[in-house]
Structures are given as C-alpha cells and as structure tokens.
Amino acid sequence: MEQARRVISVIVLNEASVLSRIAGLFSGRGYNIESLTVAPIPDSKYSRITIVTAGSIKVVEQIIKQLHKLIPVLKVYEHADLVEKEMAMVKIPLTESLGDIEALAHAYNGRIVNVGSDTLIVMVADEPMRVGHFLEAIKRFHPKEIVRSGSVAMER
C-alpha cells in the first residue's frame, strides 16, 4: 500500500489530558506521527493540533475516524489544498562567515536572530521540504544544534 505523507488538523477542547488521548491513540493503534504541533485557538475554548503522519488512504481514513471518536474532539480534517509552514532554528559557531549564512537564510525566508559571544542563531520559516533543504545546506557551517518546530497548516 502506498505510504503517503498526510497532514491532519484536529480541533479539540482545550482541556487537561487531551493531548495524551491523541498521542495514545496513535501509539496504541500503531499509527505513526512524523510531527505534532499544538496551540490554543485565540478567543475560543479550543486548540488546534496539526499532525503530520504517513499511511495508506485506508489507514488515514481510520485515523480520522478514531480521532473523531475521542469525546473532546470537535473536528478532524485532512488537508488537501493547504499552505503548510514549518520553522527551524540553527546554532552556528561565530567562526563561520556571517554574510554567507545571512544570504543562505534569506533564500529560505529567514535571518540571523541572535548573535552571542561564541555562537549565532539563525531561523527560517518555510515549507517543510524547503526547511529540509535549508538544513542540508547549512551543514557546511558546522551547526551545533538544530531545532524544528513541526508543521502548521491552513486550508487555502
């Protein structure tokens, strides 16, 4: 079966233990989570959880139904036509060329956001695939630490 990458948004009641219900459902039923982000929806009692997963159409259908079955879940949708973004931060030794780093970050919607005594931090925000490309490219500047945020997505 074809294992395609899927992005699922889950709107949940903003209450204790709701995240463990979702995470537990994935682990308990053997579904895979590639990334998961969660934050409250402003001016509401709900949160939005964005989950990136991989699976066949049948598996994703089942994931969506099982998510729906959880009592605090309001809505579940799988995105077809969406804008998807991810953020990443990279810590680089100050010995590297600032100009080159700045230029590279710029190409991926990013910039240098912090410069300390020994290291600088550069951030980018772009489509997840392009963030991956950026992280590949930044390797030549000997990054000491990389943090990815996971995807957030919005229907067009």
């Binding site: 233990s17 049948k58 089942q62 139904k65 099982q66 009592i71 309001l74």
Partner: protein, 564 residues
C-alpha cells in the same frame, strides 16, 4: 444544594435511578463509602475482588439494558478493576466506574496507593475523567452516564481524589448534558438506506449478519420481524446469540472460527451481506481477502470507525440499528419479494444437512456438548446463561437453545477468563425470576472463585456448571492440533475438591460423572435455589469443532480432527 463530593456521588446515583452498585472499599474512596452507609436508596454489593465488581456490573448491565455501576479504591483497587473495564470496552457494555484517588496535594508524588488511573484507563474506556473540583462533579457524573449509554455504549471511568469527595460545593444535577464535541448519528442517511433496500430487492442470496449491536440497541424484535417479512436468512455473531429464536427457520447459526458449516458457507456464498451492529472481527471473518468474496456489503453501525475498518462497505450506513431497520422495513415492504430467495433457502438447507453441528457420544463418558444441550432441555428460556472463556464457552454458544436477547452473556472481545461467575451474579441481580447459570471450565472458575462468598452473602444463587476436563482445554486443543501435542502448562490434573470448596463458602457442591447424576444435581440446585458448583467430569480430549484455523478461510473448515 451545598453538599460534600461524596454526597454528590450518592445523589447522582439516585438521580440516575441506580438500584445496585458493585464495589470494594479502600482508603481513597472511604468518604463515598461513608455516604453509602448512610443511605438506603440503592444496594451496595461487596464483591471479593475489584475485577469481579466490574464483571458483575457488566453482567447486570447486559441482562437489564441499564448502565452498570462499579466502585473501587485507588492504586491496586483500580488496577484490579482494569481487566473488567477493558472487557466492557471491547464488548461495548455501558458502565460507570468510579474510583477513589489520593488527595490532589499528593497526586504525582508516588503516594501510598497512588497510580495514574486515568492514564491507565484511557485506552480502554469510552471516556474518562479526573475530577479536580467538587463543583464539576454533578456535570461529570451526568456526562459519564450519558456517554456510557448513548452512541456506541461503553465504560466511562471517573477518578475522584479523596479531598474532592470531602469538599463542600454546590450540587445541581438538573442541567441537561451539553457536549458540543459529541453528537452520535442515530438516524441513518435515507438516501443510503434506499440504495441498500434496492440492493436487497435485487440480491439473489442476501444474508443478515447480526452482531451484538442489535441487542444493545434493542432492535432484536424488529430484526426478527424484518427477517420474517423479507425471508432473508441470518447468521449471528458470538455476541448476538439470542437475537433470533433458536427454532426460527431463518436462523442458520453462529458464524466464525467455531461457527457452523452452514453459517460459514452461507457467508461465503452470499451476494449481499446485511451487517447490522457487527464489526467484522477477525474471529468472524477468518482470512479477510477470502471473506464474503462474492458479496456486496451493507454495513449499519452506530460507530463510524467500525465501518470499512476491516471489510470495505459498499453501502455504509451510520446510525442506530433500530432506527435504520425501521426505515428499511417501510421500504422493503413494497420492494422486496420474499419468495425470491427460495433457491437460496434450498442451498442453505443443503449446507445444514451436509454438516450440522454435532458430536459423537462415547459410551458412558459425558460429552460437554451434551451437558450444554441438557441444560437447554431442562431450563431453556427459564435460564440466563453466562460463561467463562474457553472450550466450554464455544460449546455453549454452539449448542444452547437461546430464545431471547439478553439471555446470553459472555466475554467476547477481550476473552476474559474469570468473567463468568461474577457476571452471572450481576445477571441474577438484574433478573431474579430466572435461574442464572454460569457454564465454566475447570481453569476459568478458579480465576474468580472467591465470588462464592458474594453470591452466598447476598443470596444471589448462581449455579456454576464446571465442564471439567482437567485441562485448559482450548489451549490444549491448539497444542494438540498445531504444537504436535506438546501440552505445555495446560494439564490441570491437580485440582481442588470442588464439592468441599463450595460447601466451605456456604454453597452446595455436586460431583457428576453420569447423565442421571447431572440431571439430579441440576434439578436439585434449581429447586433448592442455592449457590452451587456442579463439577461435571467430561471427556478429556474433546475438541471444539468445526473450526476455521486462525487466518484460514471460512469455507475451508476443519470439520473433524483425527488424532494421529
């Protein structure tokens, strides 16, 4: 009304018209037990193990159609109960399970008898709550009962810290349940139902595939009418036994791993499966790619996640079986010609004739199947039948003449040994008029034998019929068939004296080796109306047949087993 959290629990149970709860006290739940002591609106049945409390609540719920209630303390009280909770989850039994928890200030400190109860119950409950403030208790308990009985029923767990049961707060139970995020679909989509009825009218070999959902939605009577009106034959899952009367000419039998040849062949030959409240469990389908290969599938279920989970449905209908069948009947009246399926009936009659469910007598040795049939002959409709798990369970499902829904009560999904006796206690409590029989094995009965004390104390005379073959018979059967007779840890030759065991608890025991002795013992136990253990010595190496070996196809049954 300003009352304590403990008092709120009592008030909520009264408001829900609960007449009995099953439980076991302990430190963290003591405030509630103190409040139970001071009320007389409902009975508390003290089981002798927390697992048994939950099974008893299950038995009560299944026999009565009401929500069962169990109460336990924190830590080990709760972990003991989890098997029962998981069992109820797998079989969609409506329960509210209330547990004590250590005080809020101690949560997370590894306090005495502390365990993350909601963390453990999360994957095996329909929903669960940790109550952190007594002012939420009325709403939570009301939601718990509502969730347990609506939609696809199931167990709901409410964990209450000790200080919350002591806290005084406002109690108002009058507010309607409002759950924005939970709205089960009860009415089926009319357009889909129309299409499904058209498919039925055009089918040549339609087959009703009835699951436990028919019974829990209270649709059994309606399904009987539907089947009669359309003349569509039916197979039942293990959970659905009793939906159709055993003598109904349209009932083929149970299908699946130990279903009848005719039922499994009908499923393999049908051109239209009408699945009602059934979930295409692996013990039913066998090899999925070969299951009902020639058929289109109508699947009616209240749980959308059950539809097309394992077998793709051509006509998916989310809704309550009762509602959907009602609509189907209105349409089918004019559209479906009941005479149309006569050739199909002939085919099925031939399957039935070819390999009926049977067993062979062997001299004087009692056959377990005979015992089951004999109970049926002697008690029939007057008994409610529970079982434990194993060979005896399958023989009961195959051979007992069930005549009504809720007469049958067994652990299907989880397959919990030790279920039968406490469940039969709950069944008895729900239906005092009828005899409550637990057909069990010599392995299973010892898993909750302490419940003899509960049954005796509360005068709930359950009759346990032990089909004793000195084996963990079902595992032994698989070892014989698939493990070259290496009977690893299944020989139960060393046994207690069941007669003395029963007597020591204040019950009555019988040891039976012949047909006459069995009749005498059963009649005596029924007449005396006492808690009984009837230890029936049966043929040791009898196998449950026919059988679809795990992963095999339904049409490829093992009809007999020849010892090599």
């Amino acid at each position: 009304m300003q009352i304590s959290g403990a008092q709120m629990v009592i008030e909520a149970l009264i408001a829900e018209e609960v007449e009995v709860i099953f439980g076991y006290p302990g430190g963290a739940i003591m405030n509630v037990y103190d409040a139970i002591y001071q009320q007389s609106s409902f009975q508390h049945v003290l089981t002798r193990h927390e697992q048994a409390a939950v099974h008893a609540a299950e038995g009560y719920a299944k026999a009565s159609g009401k929500v069962g209630v169990a109460m336990i303390t924190s830590g080990p009280g709760f972990t003991n109960a989890i098997t029962g909770i998981a069992d109820a989850y797998m079989d969609s039994v409506p329960l509210v399970v209330i547990s004590g928890q250590v005080p809020m200030s101690l949560i997370g400190t590894d306090a005495f008898q502390e365990i993350d109860a909601v963390g453990i119950s999360r994957p095996c409950t329909k929903h669960n709550y940790l109550v952190t403030d007594a002012k939420d208790l009325a709403r939570i308990l009301k939601e718990a009962f509502y969730l347990a009985r609506t939609g696809r029923p199931g167990p709901v767990h409410v964990d209450i810290p000790k200080d919350v049961t002591a806290q005084i707060a406002l109690f108002d139970y009058s507010k309607e349940v409002e759950l924005e995020t939970y709205k089960p679909t009860v009415k089926g989509n009319m357009r889909q139902i129309k299409k499904a009825v058209e498919a039925i009218a055009n089918a040549k070999r339609p087959l009703l595939y009835l699951g436990g959902g028919v019974i829990s939605s209270g649709a059994a009577e309606l399904v009987r009418e539907f089947s009669k009106m359309t003349q569509i034959p039916a197979v039942e899952t293990f959970m659905a036994r009793g939906t159709l009367h055993h003598a109904d000419p349209l009932l083929i039998s149970m299908l699946g791993m130990h279903g009848s040849y005719a039922a499994n062949m009908a499923m393999s030959e049908t051109d239209l499966v009408i699945g009602l409240g059934a979930r295409f469990d692996d013990r039913v389908t066998g090899k999925l790619s070969e299951f009902a290969k020639n058929a289109q599938i109508i699947h009616v279920d209240i749980d959308p996640a059950s539809i097309s989970k394992l077998v793709n449905a051509h006509f998916p209908i989310v809704g309550d079986v009762k509602n959907v069948v009602e609509s189907m009947m209105t349409l089918a009246k004019d559209q479906v010609d009941p005479l149309r399926y006569a050739p199909w009936h002939n085919t099925i009659a031939n399957f039935n004739k070819l390999h009926p469910l049977s067993y062979t007598e062997e001299g004087d040795r009692l056959k377990p199947q005979w015992v089951v049939q004999r109970i049926g002959q002697l008690l029939g409709d007057d008994a409610n039948i529970s079982t434990d798990v194993g060979q005896h369970q399958m023989w009961t499902a195959q051979f007992y003449p069930f005549s009504r829904p809720r007469q049958w009560n067994s652990s299907g999904g989880l397959g919990t040994m030790g279920y039968g006796f406490p469940a039969a206690i709950g069944v008895k409590r729900a239906d005092m008029e009828r005899v409550s029989i637990n057909i069990t094995g010599d392995g299973s009965i010892l898993m909750n034998i302490q419940e003899l004390m509960t049954a005796v104390e509360y005068n709930l005379p359950v009759i346990n019929v032990i089909l004793n073959n000195n084996f963990l018979g079902m595992v032994r059967q698989w070892q014989t068939m698939f493990y070259d007779k290496r009977h690893s840890s299944t020989d139960l030759s060393i046994q207690p004296d069941f007669v003395k065991l029963a007597e020591s608890f204040g019950g009555v025991g019988y040891r039976v080796t012949t047909k006459e002795e069995f009749d005498t013992a059963l009649k005596d136990a029924v007449e005396k109306n006492v808690v009984a253990l009837i230890d029936v010595v049966v043929a040791r190496f009898e196998n449950v047949l026919p059988m679809v070996p795990a992963g095999g196809s339904l049409f490829n049954m093992m009809l007999e087993y020849k010892d090599k």
